[in-house]
Symmetry: C2
Subunit: 412 residues, 2 copies
């Protein structure tokens, strides 16, 4: 089966919003072994949407449109699909009921334009939308399949995952080959150095392994094509084992597991309590740690000691230390980490001080210089990091280095 | 002039990366009054790229391709454009020199495939790439214009901004009308309520005003089409004044100005020092404040008091208060804000406590319940907020409500 994706919306075409739905559906289709050869974006214009639909049906078996299902007069995707497929639109009773209930519960008068959202092609079917009033529609006719889904990702993604993908999965069962991927997430080593370690594996044809550089980390995506998911996973496991052997402890997680997730999980496993003392990262490390559900099991407190006075008063960093070495120094990073432990009865703490820029740099202490102290029951260590990029890049990379330093400690 | 954008790359089509280049070029072209009717994504496949190019030339005067200019055998954009336009590829001496110098400086042996990057169509011209080895190419022939640019945004964006846009600006000078936009950023009011306030303005044809809902705020984009930039700006100012009259203090900034930027600017103007006491937001408010360059002028310190003990020990919240009312209560939010002021000699402080979820909710205190205390020289106030969405949504919306509460105080 071959698919084409059409994203509909003038705001997409003007570049006002970035389309994340189309890549999402691409990934989901590839796991079913459905090839996507073209993706097209058109505005809210019937003639051009009609043209895009005709072209898509001429070269694909399955067309998925995203957007243009709202109640306004600009929203014309269903009408255009119906016209191109020679279908009349009829009211879907169940969808109408859902829409009427929605407005009734809110005590809002329903407008006729809202009822337009209950229309579906006469030979089609409605796809329930748990997060909004616009149902999607599906239709299978003359050997072609079309799905129309709403544009807001909060509605689009659940409808795709819960209705379209299972429907297509049944449809393609036994006929197509599947594509399955797994991402190895790597931190603490640069992209080139990491690539060098698995250089020979990069030539592998099936499964393949390909690097993607992210800010402060590298992802290696392993992709296998096979007759079924199980065979693909077996192929992936073989290549993954080889890659892990080469990359060792630099691998911190797979797929959607973040670095902060790996750190929180390891802290909880080892029953260690964490405290933070942040200066240049401004709270970002605490924010990342607390993005992980359950982090309250290990995370006690953070101090964002942006001013010198806060370093002295809250963390107990000796004033003389700051005077002698400056606030950005290995001595202060160490004292911040120690102070965070002392202040909170934590087992481990990070202390981060640096110059995020764009101002504040000197020849001796340039923008991007960041010292990270790690205080543990084994003692305290400090690393010196020189990080590139904008203010936000420096903050992100400093948080990355600090979390990775903590992760490495927790491994041993 | 009408343009079509073709993004080239199998990694785009598989959904491995999100295409931010195509929206960027859309926005830049709209400022020149160049309409984009279609955007197309194709993989690294000569036949399908050739097909997409022919279709694009049949309905547009200008075609911009993004990607496929690398040294590998998958990179075939230039070759395909040359074939479709009936051009031979020849070596551009200047580009070859740049590539040879690049490798020489690094002491790396140059591969023949790298010299492929110096090829340009015989009637075309090279577009210098200050950030990589792949020059772009441009060609004007038989009334059609084509540009091919490399895919990495760090190379693509400077080449577009420094070479293509000025070239097109000369080309369209005097002939095209320009499109100019300004975004009004609004916070503290829901999308529907904000829209209602400017309902009649939404029918305006030129300039237009259109709402875009963001997480915790609403953006209104005003767009004018006129013969020149100055006339467009005058038209925008007229509609902007009307919208501002209706939206009043809900408008906190324009274009790229963030809420944290507005808050930091107002604090510095009023010479007030800020402290933070964060629980459920975990450091996010400190992170946002310190994303603003120069925030060290006003921001003294934050305490991320995730555990009750940290609320008591570091912020001086009375233990009885937590016992009696619970950590998520208006009383504790107030005591946290007061404690942050007392601990740091700040003039104003926020105290934020709530349940970010997904666990930890009860019927009385559900997930999403967040109390925000604001302590100022005028006294302390507390708001109760019930916020929807995932753990990260609740954190973001809580930070948004807290920053907006502080902004409103600073306005008066």
């Amino acid at each position: 089966m071959r698919a084409e994706i059409i994203s509909v919306g003038t705001e997409l075409l003007l570049g006002d919003i970035v389309d994340t739905n189309a890549p999402y559906v691409s990934r989901q289709l590839s796991t079913l072994g459905i090839d996507v050869y073209y993706r097209v974006t058109v505005g809210d214009n019937v003639a051009r949407l009609s043209d895009a639909l005709k072209t898509a049906f001429s070269r694909a078996d399955l067309v998925i449109t995203i957007g243009g299902l709202g109640p306004t007069e600009d929203d014309l995707t269903k009408e255009t699909i119906a016209e191109v497929m020679g279908e009349r639109l009829v009211t879907d009773q169940e969808s109408e009921k859902v829409i009427r209930d929605f407005f009734e519960r809110r005590g809002v008068q329903i407008a006729p334009s809202n009822l337009k959202q209950a229309l579906i092609p006469e030979h089609g079917f409605a796809i329930p939308n748990g997060m909004g009033t616009a149902p999607g529609v599906g239709i299978e006719k003359d050997g072609k399949i079309a799905f129309a889904l709403p544009g807001p990702p909060g509605e689009f993604i659940p409808m795709l995952d819960n209705s379209i993908i299972p429907w297509l999965s049944d449809k393609t069962a036994g006929t197509a080959s599947v594509i399955v991927s797994r991402t190895l997430r790597v931190c603490g080593i640069g992209e080139s150095a990491a690539e060098l370690k698995i250089k020979d594996l990069l030539d592998n044809r099936n499964p393949t392994i390909a690097p993607y550089a992210k800010s402060g980390e590298v992802h290696f995506r392993i992709t296998a094509k096979a007759a079924d998911k199980e065979s693909a996973l077996t192929m992936i496991s073989g290549l993954e084992a080889k890659a892990r052997e080469r990359l060792g402890e630099y691998v911190y997680g797979i797929d959607e597991e973040t670095l902060e997730y790996a750190v929180v999980r390891a802290l909880i496993e080892r029953k260690l309590k964490l405290a933070l003392a942040e200066s240049c990262t401004g709270g970002l490390i605490g924010h990342r740690i607390t993005n992980v559900p359950g982090s309250s099991e290990t995370f006690l407190a953070g101090v964002v000691s942006y001013s010198n006075k806060a370093k002295i008063d809250i963390l107990g960093v000796p004033a003389e230390l700051i005077e002698k070495h400056g606030a950005v120094s290995p001595e202060v990073a160490e004292a911040m980490a120690k102070g965070a432990v002392a202040r909170t009865v934590a087992d481990v703490a990070l202390g981060v001080t640096g110059i995020a820029g764009p101002g504040g740099g000197t020849p001796e202490k340039p923008v991007g210089l960041v010292y990270i102290g790690l205080c543990t029951p084994d003692g305290t260590e400090v690393t010196r990091n020189v990080l590139g990029g904008s203010r936000q890049d420096v903050k992100l990379r400093a948080s990355q280095s600090a979390l990775n330093m903590l992760r490495m400690f927790l491994l041993h």
